[in-house]
Amino acid sequence: MISLTINGTRHELDVEGEMPLLWVLRDELGLTGTKYSCGIGRCGACTVLVDGEAKRACTIVLEDVADSEVTTIEGLAPAGTWTAVQEAWIAEQVPQCGYCQPGLIVAATRLLAANPRPSDAEIDAAIDNICRCGTYDRVRRAIHRAAEMQAASAPPAVPAPAAPASEGAPQ
C-alpha cells in the first residue's frame, strides 16, 4: 500500500509503485480533470501540484510522491468557488477546447504563488504548456489579471504613510 494525500483526502492505494501519478488520478481515482496528452512531460496538460510545486503527473511515478500532498485542478478551490486564477480565466474567457486548460491553470497558480506580480518575460519563462487552440494571448492577460486581483485582496504591501517604513505589512 502506498499512501498519499490528494486534494486534502488521504488515500491508501494498492497500486504498482511505478504507475505514473497521472493514471493513478485518472483511472484509479476518477479525477479526470488532469489530462493525458503527450506522456513525456512535454505539454503540461497533466500539471499538478506536489507539495506546492508544479509537476507533470505523466512523468512522476506513484512511489515518488508517497506521503506527499497532491493538488489537482479539482482541489484548487472548494466546490462552487473559484480561486483568483480561475476567476481571471473566466473573466478573460481563456479556454477554447479547454483540454490543456487545467494544466495551464495549475501552472499559473504555482507561478503566482512564487511570484505574485510576474512580468511578461517571467510568464514566458515559467509557462511552457502547449495549447493547440492558441489561447496564449489570453493566458498572459489572465495571469496579469489574477495577479492584480490577488494584490487587491491581499493586505497592503505598502505601509500606511504614518507607519515606519521598516514595518511593512506582510505580503
Binding site: Y36, S37, I40, R42, E74, Q93, V94, D128
Partner: protein
C-alpha cells in the same frame, strides 16, 4: 437501399453538385422524401416528462432548458454561438444555471448539415433540385461538423426554432394564466403579467406541445437583439476552468475498461505474427485483441494496458505500397515541370501576356504533410452489448459516420452515439479510424464498456494528414507594375478521394477534387490573363481535412507570391494589392481596415520587418500583418494585426478567439510543422519531434472585425491561411530572403 449505400451516394455527389443529389433523390423516391422532416418544427413529449419544442429545444418540468447544438464543440465556441440564436428569440440567459447546451444524440433530418454537403447557404437553398438535395441529406441524418459551417447552417434555422417555441409557449401561457397574450411579458425562461402573475416555461411546455407550431414566425428585429452581436461568455468555460468538463477520455461509465493500441508502423502494413508471452498474466489485463492492422490490450487501467501492449512481440508484414513524402514531392515537381495538368482554366491569353510583358516572375513553392495534433489524442468509448446494440461515447465531427463505422465492424443492431466535448479536432475527428478500432476492441469484450485511447505517438503517426503539395506561380508585369497575367498551378494528391475511400468506402476521381484548388479558384486579383491548373494525383498516404484544408497551402502560395510580385514591381505590398483588387470589394475593404489598424507604412529593414497577407476562405475574408524582428536566423514575432470581414458577427469575443487561435495554428505549421514519411512510416511522434508554438514564442494578436449586416461567414478556419504568407513576407522585409518552402525551421530559422 441500405442506409450505408445511401451514405456513399450522398458523399459521392456531395463534392459534385446539387443536380447529382437530385438524381440520388429520385432513386430513393420523391414520395418518401416528402415525408422527411427537414424543418424540425414539431413538438413531442418525451418519456421523462420533458418536452421538445422543435428539434433544438427541450424543456423539463423543473424548467431546465436544453439547447441541442448538432455540431461538435471542439474549441470553436459553437455551443455558445448557436445557443445565442435560440436564446435571442426565446429570451434566455444562456449562461444561467438552468440552461444546458449539448450535442444531440439523435441524427434528426433537421440537424443534417446540408450547407456543408451541398456547399450552399440554407437561405439560398430553394427550388426543386435543392428541395430534393436537402431531403436526401436529411434522410441520411448527415450530422457533421466541418468547413466552418455551423453558424452558416444554423443562423436562420435556430432563430426560427427559438421563435416557434416562443410562440407556442406564449399561447400556452396565455391559456394557463387566463390572460390575453398581449398582456404577457417574456422574462428569463418564463412569462409574467403586470399584476404579478408568473409562469415558468417548464410549467406550460406540455400544454404548448399540444399546439400546432406556427407556419410562419416573425424573427426579432436586429435592432432589438440582446444576445446576437454581443460578447456573451462561453457556456462551456466554467466547467473547463473547474476541470469538470467531460471530454471523450473523461467518460467513466460503470465497469469501464481501458485499451491501448499498437498500430502498424507503416501505412498499409498488417500484423504478420503476434507472440503474447506472459502478458495475459499481468495484473489487470483482460484481453488481447488482434486485428488485421493493429493489436490492442484491454485492461482495468490505461497504463497497465499501455505497458502490456509495449511488451507484446508483434511482427508486421510489408505493405503493398511504401509511401514516401520525399518521393511524392519529387513526383509532383516532375509532373509540374512536364505540365501534366489534370485540369486547367484560362481567362484571356496567358502565353501572350507572358510574351509581351516587361517582367516575368516564376517561382516554385512547397508545403509538407501535417498532422493535426489535437491535445486530446484520438479515442472512443464503446459498449457492445450481448444483444448487439452498441453505445458509443466519442468526440467526433460526424455522429453519422461514427454509426456507419460501427456498422462496418460487426452485426450492430442499433448504434447510439453520444458526442462528448472534444479536446481539439481540426478535421482529424472527421475520420472514423478511432471509432473502428474502438468498436473492434469492444466487440472482443462484449458487455463491458471499453475506452480505446491512442498514445500521442499513435495520434501523430496515424495519418489523415494535410497533404504535401507543390505550386508553380507565374506572373507577368507591365512597366507600371500592373499584372498582365497571373497563373497558379497546384500539384497535390487528392484529399477528397483519399478521405472518401477510407471513411465512406467510395472511389472518386482525383481530378474532380475541388479541395486541390480551393482558394485559387476565383482569386481576387485582377489581371488581363489568368490561368489556374491542377496536377491531381492519387495519395500515397492517408490524407484528410486539416484546419482550412486546401486554403492552408493555397493561401500561402498565392499571398507569398503576390508579395514577390509587389517587390519585383518595386511597389508597396498593400498598394500592389490595392491596384489589383476591384474597388469596393470585400477584399479591398478588409485591406483598408488592415492598413489603418496596423499603421501600415511600407517596408521594414534593419532587422525589422512587416509582412501582409489577405485571403478569403469559408465565406470570410481575413487580412493579417505580422511584425517581426530578425537577428541572424532568430525571428521574434513582435505583433500580429488581423482585420476580418466574417459577415454578421454573432459573438465578437468568440470570433476574436478563433482568429487568434486559427492564426497561431497557421504560425505553428509555418514555423515547425512537417511530417516526413519514409518507407511507409511517419517519422515524427511526440511533441519533441513534432513541435508546437509555445507561449513564449506567441505574439500578441490584435483583431479588428468589420461591421457587416451580411449573412455570417465561417470563423473557425479563415484565420489560418494568412499566417504563413504574412510571416515569410515579414522575414523577407527584414532580411531580403525569400522562403518558399515550409516550414521555415528547415531553412535554419528559430523563434526568439
Amino acid at each position: 437501399m441500405t442506409k450505408r449505400s445511401l451514405t456513399r451516394r450522398v458523399f459521392l455527389i456531395g463534392s459534385a453538385a446539387i443536380g447529382g443529389t437530385a438524381v440520388a433523390g429520385l432513386g430513393i423516391g420523391v414520395g418518401y422524401l416528402a415525408m422527411v422532416d427537414v424543418d424540425g418544427h414539431g413538438a413531442r413529449v418525451l418519456g421523462d416528462g420533458s418536452v421538445d419544442l422543435t428539434a433544438w429545444i427541450n424543456i423539463s418540468p423543473d424548467n431546465t432548458i436544453t439547447i441541442y447544438v448538432p455540431f461538435l464543440e471542439m474549441g470553436q465556441g459553437t455551443h455558445t454561438g448557436l445557443a445565442q440564436l435560440v436564446g435571442e428569440e426565446l429570451g434566455l440567459d444562456i449562461n444561467a444555471d438552468n440552461i444546458r447546451v449539448v450535442h444531440p444524440s439523435e441524427d434528426l433530418a433537421a440537424f443534417a448539415n446540408w450547407t456543408m454537403i451541398l456547399d450552399e447557404r440554407p437561405e439560398r437553398l430553394s427550388g426543386p433540385l435543392q428541395w430534393l438535395g436537402k431531403r436526401v441529406v436529411g434522410a441520411l441524418g448527415v450530422v457533421a461538423t466541418g468547413g466552418s459551417t455551423a453558424m452558416v447552417a444554423s443562423f436562420t434555422a435556430m432563430r426560427e426554432a427559438g421563435a416557434i417555441a416562443r410562440e407556442m409557449l406564449t399561447e400556452a401561457a396565455a391559456a394557463e394564466l387566463g390572460v390575453h397574450r398581449d398582456r404577457l411579458m417574456l422574462g428569463y425562461a418564463g412569462f409574467g403579467t403586470a399584476d404579478g402573475k408568473e409562469v415558468k416555461f417548464g410549467e406550460i411546455a406540455a400544454r404548448a406541445a399540444k399546439l400546432a407550431p406556427p407556419a410562419t414566425v416573425t424573427l426579432k428585429d436586429p435592432a432589438k437583439w440582446e444576445l446576437i452581436g454581443k460578447p456573451v461568455p462561453r457556456v462551456d468555460v466554467p466547467a473547463k476552468v473547474a476541470g469538470t468538463a467531460v471530454f471523450g477520455t473523461d467518460v467513466r461509465p460503470e465497469g469501464l475498461l481501458f485499451a491501448a493500441l499498437r498500430r502498424a508502423p507503416q501505412f498499409g502494413a498488417k500484423v504478420a505474427s503476434l507472440s503474447e508471452g506472459d502478458v495475459r498474466k499481468r495484473r489487470g489485463i483482460v484481453e488481447i485483441v488482434r486485428m488485421d492492422d493493429a493489436v490492442a490490450v484491454v485492461a482495468d487501467n490505461s497504463w497497465r494496458a499501455r505497458e502490456a501492449v509495449d511488451a507484446l512481440e508483434i511482427t508486421w508484414g510489408a505493405p503493398a505500397v511504401l509511401s514516401d513524402s520525399a518521393a511524392l514531392v519529387a513526383d509532383l515537381k516532375a509532373r509540374l515541370k512536364a505540365k501534366a495538368f489534370t485540369r486547367e482554366e484560362k481567362e484571356g491569353d496567358f502565353d501572350r501576356a507572358l510574351g509581351g510583358s516587361m517582367q516575368m516572375i516564376n517561382e516554385v513553392y512547397e508545403t509538407p504533410f501535417l498532422a493535426h495534433a489535437a491535445m486530446e489524442p484520438m479515442n472512443a468509448t464503446v459498449l457492445w452489448r450481448a444483444d448487439d446494440t452498441v453505445e458509443v461515447r466519442v468526440p467526433t465531427q460526424s455522429s453519422m459516420l461514427t454509426r456507419s463505422a460501427v456498422e462496418g465492424v460487426g452485426p450492430a443492431k442499433r448504434v447510439d452515439v453520444h458526442v462528448t466535448l472534444a479536446g481539439g479536432g481540426f478535421g482529424r475527428r472527421a475520420e472514423t479510424d478511432f471509432v473502428s478500432y474502438a468498436a473492434r476492441v469492444a466487440l472482443a469484450v462484449k458487455g463491458r464498456p471499453v475506452q480505446t485511447l491512442w498514445s500521442r505517438e499513435e495520434d501523430t503517426r496515424g495519418g489523415a494528414y494535410r497533404p504535401a503539395s507543390v505550386a508553380m506561380m507565374t506572373a507577368a508585369l507591365d512597366g507600371r507594375g500592373q499584372l498582365e497575367g497571373l497563373s497558379a498551378i497546384i500539384a497535390a494528391p487528392s484529399l477528397s478521394s483519399s478521405f472518401m475511400a477510407r471513411n465512406v468506402g467510395l472511389s472518386s476521381d482525383p481530378a474532380s477534387d475541388r479541395v486541390t484548388l480551393e482558394g485559387i479558384v476565383g482569386f481576387p486579383y485582377l489581371a488581363k490573363a489568368r490561368r489556374i491548373a491542377a496536377v491531381d494525383t492519387e495519395s500515397p498516404a492517408p490524407i484528410g481535412y486539416w484546419r482550412s484544408v486546401g486554403h492552408s497551402h493555397n493561401g500561402f502560395y498565392m499571398e507569398a507570391f503576390i508579395d514577390e510580385c509587389a517587390a519585383a514591381a518595386g511597389i508597396d505590398p498593400a498598394e500592389f494589392r490595392r491596384m489589383h483588387l476591384a474597388e469596393g470589394s470585400r477584399h479591398a475593404r478588409v485591406l483598408e481596415k488592415l492598413v489603418a489598424a496596423s499603421g501600415w507604412s511600407g517596408r521594414g529593414g534593419n532587422g525589422r520587418g512587416r509582412g501582409l497577407a489577405l485571403h478569403e476562405s469559408f465565406r470570410s475574408v481575413v487580412g493579417a500583418v505580422v511584425d517581426v524582428s530578425v537577428s541572424g536566423t532568430t525571428v521574434k514575432l513582435e505583433k500580429v494585426t488581423i482585420a476580418a470581414d466574417c459577415g454578421r458577427i454573432i459573438n465578437p469575443q468568440l470570433v476574436e478567439a478563433q482568429m487568434q487561435g486559427g492564426f497561431v495554428f497557421g504560425l505553428t505549421a509555418a514555423i515547425y510543422g512537417k511530417i516526413d514519411i519514409v518507407a511507409g512510416a511517419a517519422q515524427q511522434g511526440n511533441f519533441d519531434s513534432y513541435r508546437m508554438l509555445r507561449l513564449a514564442e506567441a505574439p500578441p494578436i490584435e483583431v479588428h472585425l468589420l461591421d457587416s449586416e451580411d449573412l455570417p461567414g465561417g470563423v473557425g478556419e479563415p484565420g489560418t491561411p494568412v499566417a504563413a504568407p504574412a510571416l515569410v513576407a515579414a522575414i523577407f522585409s527584414a532580411t531580403g530572403e525569400r522562403l518558399r518552402k515550409l516550414p521555415i525551421a528547415e531553412a535554419g530559422y528559430t523563434i526568439g
